[in-house]
């Protein structure tokens, strides 16, 4: 336990001193501000463009925006935030393989599974903190400008998306223990994400795919019910646990 804590502490120190932590916080904050800001600016943009639109024969009436506009933006932008997160953290394992820093820790008797656990833990905390920070900021602005009450199933739908993020984190860990280079992690994570997304295009298989959780914006307007997610949710949770557990024996057997 002591060694697990020590290694986790080292991971935090690395995130902090390399500036990654700060950068992630800034990025998620910006995304959080962007959602209501875009919603707030929409009428103004339309107004600015009204003259030119009128010339082309379109009449612009007053555009009304509300919390829903902002939340729709949230779900549009969060995939971008996830991609930035993956790009920034994809080397969390591989840079240690390539520099050889892990060899010294492991030859000191640090068990390999603790490396997987510590790094998974750090990734989960970083993603969760960033995600909920982004959510919190959007929520705060939305309740200040408009009324969050008009959106349905808000907490449930954002939790779905957060879980999808955890699924991607699991993929990062899994591909990190299987490959030596950053590109392998990115390709693997991207490839599987694309695959589960393609599954959602098949109507019959769609409810079972973790990528179903990405479409949870449909819950806000009531276009879908919570029940529509009751298959994808447990499947994703199980996949996350299985993925991290599978990473451990793979890590134990890899050559360093």
């Amino acid at each position: 336990m002591k060694s697990l804590i020590a290694f986790t502490k080292k991971e935090w120190m690395e995130q902090l001193r390399s500036g990654r932590l700060l950068l992630l916080l800034i990025i998620f904050t910006l995304f959080g501000i962007m959602n209501p800001a875009i919603a707030k600016l929409t009428p103004w943009i339309f107004e600015l463009m009204a003259d030119s639109l009128e010339e082309s024969g379109m009449v612009v009436t007053t555009v009304t925006v509300d919390a829903m506009t902002s939340w729709t933006q949230f779900f549009k932008n969060i995939p971008m935030a996830l991609i930035v997160f993956v790009l920034m953290e994809s080397s969390i394992f591989t840079r240690e393989y390539q520099s050889g820093t892990l060899v010294l820790a492991l030859t000191k008797g640090l068990e390999r599974y603790k490396v997987v656990l510590a790094k998974s833990f750090v990734l989960i905390v970083l993603w969760s903190a960033g995600y909920w920070l982004c959510f919190g900021i959007t929520y705060g602005y939305n309740s200040y400008f408009w009324d969050n009450g008009i959106v349905q199933n808000l907490l449930f739908s954002v939790t779905c998306w957060w879980l999808f993020g955890l699924f991607v984190v699991m993929l990062m860990v899994l591909f990190s223990v299987m490959t030596d280079a950053n590109t392998g992690v990115l390709l693997g994570t991207g490839g599987v994400t694309l695959a589960v997304y393609l599954i959602t295009l098949l109507p019959k298989a769609a409810p079972f795919s973790p990528a179903k959780l990405m479409g949870s914006v449909a819950l806000l307007t009531g276009a879908e019910e919570k029940g529509d997610y009751y298959k994808a949710l447990p499947i994703t949770v199980v996949l996350c646990v299985v993925g991290v557990m599978a990473s451990i024996p793979i890590q134990n057997n890899r050559r360093l």
């Binding site: 002591k2 060694s3 804590i5 020590a6 290694f7 502490k9 080292k10 120190m13 690395e14 001193r17 390399s18 520099s99 050889g100 820093t101 060899v103 010294l104 820790a105 492991l106 030859t107 000191k108 008797g109 640090l110 068990e111 390999r112 134990n252 057997n253 050559r255 360093l256």
Partner: protein, 299 residues
């Protein structure tokens, strides 16, 4: 007691057989030099001892316990310094040693005393900067400190001096010399002068097998070839000698190397006396490690 006992270790990478049955015993105490050319398999052997590589065949015992690949419990006896040690360079040396102590489960007080002791030993005690800007020599010294932190019974250094300048090399050798009281040192190298300076025992690894091992002093005396360097006053005499004795080889205009074979040194001397050949000097050659090494490699 043998600190490390390797028996018939084999390892191949693809179709290249790197280790072809290495058998090696490192006795407790002293400094053991593990000598071989680049690519002889020194690093492969050491990594297998550390459980970083899976052997194809053979057994390894560290302090009489077998080494298991992957989760290697025997590593608690070992301090390891890789050829190019890489540290978390966002840490300071003192933070790094604390981290190392914590992952090995040392208690807090012990970490602090040991850390200060070792930083002092390797001359990094005043160093408050992060490892990022360290020179190779400084990293190598920090590497020794981290390897010694847990008071290992066996210190394994993979070519600790190869990449260093003469000053850096001397520092490392002095440190290794100093710690041999506390631990058994096994270090690999291809720099023979380093071996002659500090080693008590040696083993030559060549072509995937250990072809010679034992006490440095015994190997040197046992391998004493009867070799003499002879210098004549006149060039013509040197040529005459070279023609007369097949054991003689010209090594300069007036210099010869005489290696006893059919003809002994006495016969040569008798010949010199008979012919009244004037001599500038006769010297018996000490076998150098280099000549041993060359002999081993040529075989």
């Amino acid at each position: 007691m043998e600190m490390l006992q390797i028996t018939n270790l084999k390892k191949r990478f693809g179709d290249k057989e790197v280790l072809k049955g290495v058998t090696l015993a490192v006795p407790e105490g002293g400094v053991f030099g593990f000598i071989g050319k680049n690519g002889a398999g020194k690093t492969t052997t050491m990594k297998t001892v550390l459980g970083l590589l899976k052997p194809d065949e053979g057994t390894i015992l560290v302090a009489d316990e077998p080494v298991v690949y992957g989760q290697t419990a025997t590593n608690r006896y070992i301090g390891y310094l890789p050829d190019v040690p890489e540290f978390y360079d966002f840490m300071t040396p003192s933070e790094y040693l604390t981290f190392c102590g914590e992952i090995t489960g040392m208690d807090k007080k012990d970490i602090v005393t040991r850390r200060e002791e070792l930083l002092e030993l390797v001359g990094l005690s005043g160093e408050k900067h992060r490892i990022k800007g360290f020179s190779r020599g400084m990293k190598q010294r920090l590497g020794i400190a981290q390897a010694l932190l847990g008071r290992p019974k066996l210190l394994i250094c993979d070519e600790p001096t190869s990449a260093l300048d003469p000053v850096g090399r001397k520092e490392i050798l002095d440190i290794l010399q100093a710690v041999k009281e506390q631990t058994t040192v096994l270090f690999s190298t291809h720099i023979l002068s380093d071996v002659e300076r500090i080693c008590t025992d040696i083993a030559f690894l060549h072509d995937g097998v250990v072809c010679m091992q034992g006490k440095l002093s015994e190997i040197k005396s046992g391998k004493r070839t009867e070799e003499y360097r002879i210098e004549t006053e006149r060039e013509a005499d040197a040529r005459t000698l070279a023609e007369k004795f097949s054991e003689c080889a010209l090594s300069g205009e007036r210099q010869l190397l005489f290696r006893e074979g059919k003809a002994t040194i006495f016969e040569l001397m008798r010949f010199l006396a008979d012919k009244e050949i004037e001599i500038a000097g006769v010297e018996r050659m000490e076998p150098s490690l280099e000549s041993l090494f060359m002999e081993v490699v040529k075989k």
